[in-house]
Each structure stands twice: as C-alpha cells, then as structure tokens.
C-alpha cells in the first residue's frame, strides 16, 4: 500500500487538478491510500472535493483550526491515518508524472533500509513573469544539479516541500514534521540525517506553479528564509552533537546550505553599499583611474558571485534541454536584491511572528494548467501506444 497525503487550505481552484493527477498515477488504485487534510473551516475546498466524482477512494481528514495553522501540522494530523508502507507528500498545485510512485518504489527496493526518503524533481512551468521564469531556472539548478550531487556524496538533503517519498515507519520514528517550523521539509531532511538515515533523489518530475507577482514571491521567500533560520537555530543548539551525528561533510553542508544561504542574502546589500562607497570618493575627486581600478575589483567579485549562482540554473536548464530559457539569468543581481529583502524581513518576522505561515496563492496561472492537461494527454497517448505495441490493447472496431 502507498499513502498519498496532501494538505490543502483555500485550494478549491486546484483541488480537481491535484486529484486528477493522483488518479493518473501508474499504480494499482486498490493499493493507493489517498488522504487529503483540509482545514475544518475551509468550506470551499471541502465543497470542491465533495462535488467531484472520484475514481479512487479518498479519505478527507478535517484539521481543526486550533493552536497553529501550518502545513506540517495538517500533515501530522493526517499521518496516523496513513496505511501505506510508503508515504508521499504532494502540494495542492502539484502534477506528478505518472511513473513517480514506481520510480520511488524501485529506489527503495534497490537500496538498503537506511534510505528513508527519496525526493522527486520539482519543475515550475509558469511563464507569466520574469520572476516565475527565474524560479524555473532556480529549481532546475537545485533539483537537477545540486540535490543529486549532494545525494551522491551521501550528504544530508534539504528536502523540497513536495514530492518527498518516505518509508512511513521511519517518518513516524523520527517524529513526523515539526508543526512550528515553516520549512518543515528542510528540517526533516536534516533530522533524518541526524537519526542516521539517508535521502536520495529519483528521476521523476512533479510540475508546480511558481509565484508570478513580486508580493507573492516575497511572501514565499520570507517564509523560506524564516524556516531555514529556525532550522539552523534548532539544530545548532548543540553544535558538538550535530557534528558527531552528521559528520564533517554533513555539518559543513548544513552550515553552507541552511545557515549560509540566509547569511549571504543578508550581507549582500552591504557589498553593494561598499561598491558605491568605493566609487563615489574617487569620482568626486576626479581620480577616474582609481575609480576604474576599484570598480574592476568589485565587479570581478560581483561577476564571480553572480555567475556562480547563475551557473546552477544554466546547468539545470541545459540538463532539462531548455537552454533557450537561460536569458532570464541576466537578472541575477535584481533577484539577489529581492532575496536580501526577503532575508531581512524573515529575520524580523522570526522575532515577531515565528510560526506565521504566509500562504502562497495557487491556481493563478491558467496556461500552465492547460499545458499540464496537454502533457497528461500526451502521456496517455504514449501509454496507449506502448500497450498497442505489446499487443495488450484490443483493437477498437467501429461498425
């Protein structure tokens, strides 16, 4: 049995898309255990689920709006209902590839029992703004280049928020998700590593929607930075213990990926501030030669930094055969400024509202949904073609 858990809140617009994608998964329907955790007062989403004709049984678990209102809390409410040996988490706007559960199963069966989690690739297909296109490049670099390399080196993975496949027993053993952490995925990845478990990646994609407007993007990034800060603080309570549990490589990965990410984004404006300070005095005194030399130094550092950041995106897009979409990476300096803004507001929000979960609106991009449908039809066509070739499909006779 394979459990599929999705936590939904104000997702009436995309609930049909999600459940259709789950129904399309290439897995015996009688072995699928679909659990949807919905906030009890979210009547819209519940009505949308009830109004739908399901092809597989779906368990709806209402989550009482008591104490916190976070995704990990909803997932924790749903976890005791999971009957599967394996459990996968999907977000509301997710469209996983049909082969995903089989690929995950294959990965678990071919590995030792210390493989606790496998992460599928996430890919955003929203093209409405430069931010969403940049998001696609970023995800390509992260899920196609960065995470597979970390997994190959046996280092702990900061998991993505969706399409994580777990051994259910191990997930329960490590205590499930932390409901107070707003990036419960990254925290869980580190916790699994601390308990001596490994995480891996699988060659299957889940398509998602990216935020298109600056406001929505900032809200999401602020939450991510806040969560990484929480994760860093939680695991760095006893650095000695962490070092012993993760080893030197794991400890350094944690520092660079979780802590360093936020710190670099916070320090970045100081660099730009320094650049302007370097330039203004020589220019004001008419010493243009000195200005050029100093500008050269600063630009060399800036170009190196931005290129290093953008190179992951280029490599990821290249791997996905989408090199024509690398143009957006020219905007890396602007993106970095926005990241800095998000990091600073996250640091402030962590003091005022540490457990506040800024909800990202989904169902905004209609083109990506249409593309998703086309992709599903193409997949179906391919599948029928395979069946026909194998002689498993009876010829359709028209009278």
């Amino acid at each position: 049995m394979y459990s599929v858990i999705a936590a939904l809140h104000r997702e009436a617009a995309v609930v049909d898309q999600l459940l259709s994608a789950i129904e399309r998964l290439d897995y015996p329907s009688e072995k699928l255990d679909v659990i949807v955790a919905v906030e009890a007062d979210d009547h819209g989403t519940r009505a949308a689920i009830t109004a739908r004709k399901h092809r597989i049984p779906i368990v709806v678990v209402p989550v009482a709006p008591a104490a916190l209102r976070t995704k990990p809390k909803a997932l924790n409410v749903a976890l005791p209902f999971a009957r599967g040996v394996f459990t996968v988490i999907y977000d509301a706007e997710d469209r996983p590839e049909r082969n995903q559960l089989r690929r995950a199963l294959q990965a678990f069966r071919s590995a030792s029992s210390d493989l606790a989690c496998v992460q599928a690739r996430l890919c955003t297909d929203t093209k409405m703004s430069w931010l969403s296109r940049y998001f696609s490049a970023e995800y390509a670099g992260h899920f196609d280049i960065f995470l597979p390399r970390l997994a190959a080196l046996g280092l702990p993975l900061p998991l993505g928020g969706s399409s994580n496949h777990f051994r259910t027993a191990t997930l329960r053993e490590v205590g499930g998700w932390d409901p107070h952490n707003v990036t419960e995925d990254a925290d869980l990845g580190m916790r699994l590593a601390r308990f001596g478990y490994r995480s891996g990646v699988i060659d299957s994609t889940t398509y998602e929607e990216a935020p298109t407007k600056v406001g929505a993007w900032l809200g999401q990034r602020t939450r991510w930075f806040k969560g990484w800060m929480q994760t860093w603080l939680v695991h760095m309570r006893k650095p000695g213990h962490l070092f012993r549990e993760l080893g030197c490589g794991g400890f350094l990965t944690f520092q660079f990926v979780v802590g360093g990410n936020a710190l670099v984004a916070m320090a970045h404006p100081a660099f730009l501030f320094g650049l302007s300070w370097e330039l203004i005095p020589p220019l004001s005194t008419g010493d243009h030669q000195a200005a050029v030399v100093r500008l050269g130094h600063y630009m060399a550092v800036a170009v190196l930094g931005y290129c290093a950041s953008a190179s992951f995106g280029v490599l990821g897009l290249w791997q996905r055969g989408m090199l024509n979409k690398t143009r957006v990476l020219i905007l890396t300096p602007v993106h970095w400024l926005l990241l800095s803004l998000a990091a600073w507001s996250a640091a402030l929000e962590l003091m005022r509202k540490p457990y506040f979960w800024k909800k990202t609106e989904h169902g905004v991009d209609k083109t990506s949904r249409q593309e998703g449908r086309i992709r599903a039809l193409l997949e179906l066509e391919r599948y029928l073609d395979q069946l026909k070739r194998a002689g498993q499909l009876a010829p359709i006779r028209t009278t």
């Binding site: 008591a66 809390k73 939680v234 006893k238 404006p269 457990y355």
Partner: protein, 107 residues
Amino acid sequence: MKGGVERRAVALDSSIENVLIEAGVRAAEQLKSSRPKLSAATLNKLTNAIPLLFGVLAFVAMCTTSGMNRAFCNCGSANSIPDLGRRALGGNVFEHKSKSVLSRRIG
C-alpha cells in the same frame, strides 16, 4: 423521541469536533513533547533574534572592510568607519581629557 435523536446527533457532532480539536492540538505539540530539543516551538524570543544579530554583524563587518576605510580616507573626514563612530561618540574629547589628566598627574 425526535428530540432525543437530535440531542444525540448534537452530542455526537460536538464530540467529533472535540476529538478533531484534540487531534489538532496533539499534532501541533507532537514533536515539542516527544523531542523538545528538535522542535522550533522551544526556541525562545532571544534565540529567535540571533539571525537578525548575525545579519547586522555581517553587514557591519562588510561595511568596515579595508576598501570602505579607503573610501572614507579619500573623503578626508576620518580614517575608517570605526574612527567616524569614535569621533561621533566624542572619542577625541575623551582622548584630550585623559591627556590633560595625565599631564596634570605627571606635572
């Protein structure tokens, strides 16, 4: 008879609600109660201020690099940002005062 059924229905409904609320609370407290050291719920306000402090320190550290100091040098106002700060806080006045105290003592 009808009243009894209604009462039972209401009682059942409210008990389900209580169970749900209880499950929600338990889910929210799960990690906090079983492994408090691994839960973000046990981070206090002061700890939550550490990232902001680190950010400010990183910012200040970058602002006081040699390049920035040179920039200030060129302005002719001070030798470095710390110098500027010292001057703003009356560091020079303090130096003058201590000199005069010393000279008085020596004298």
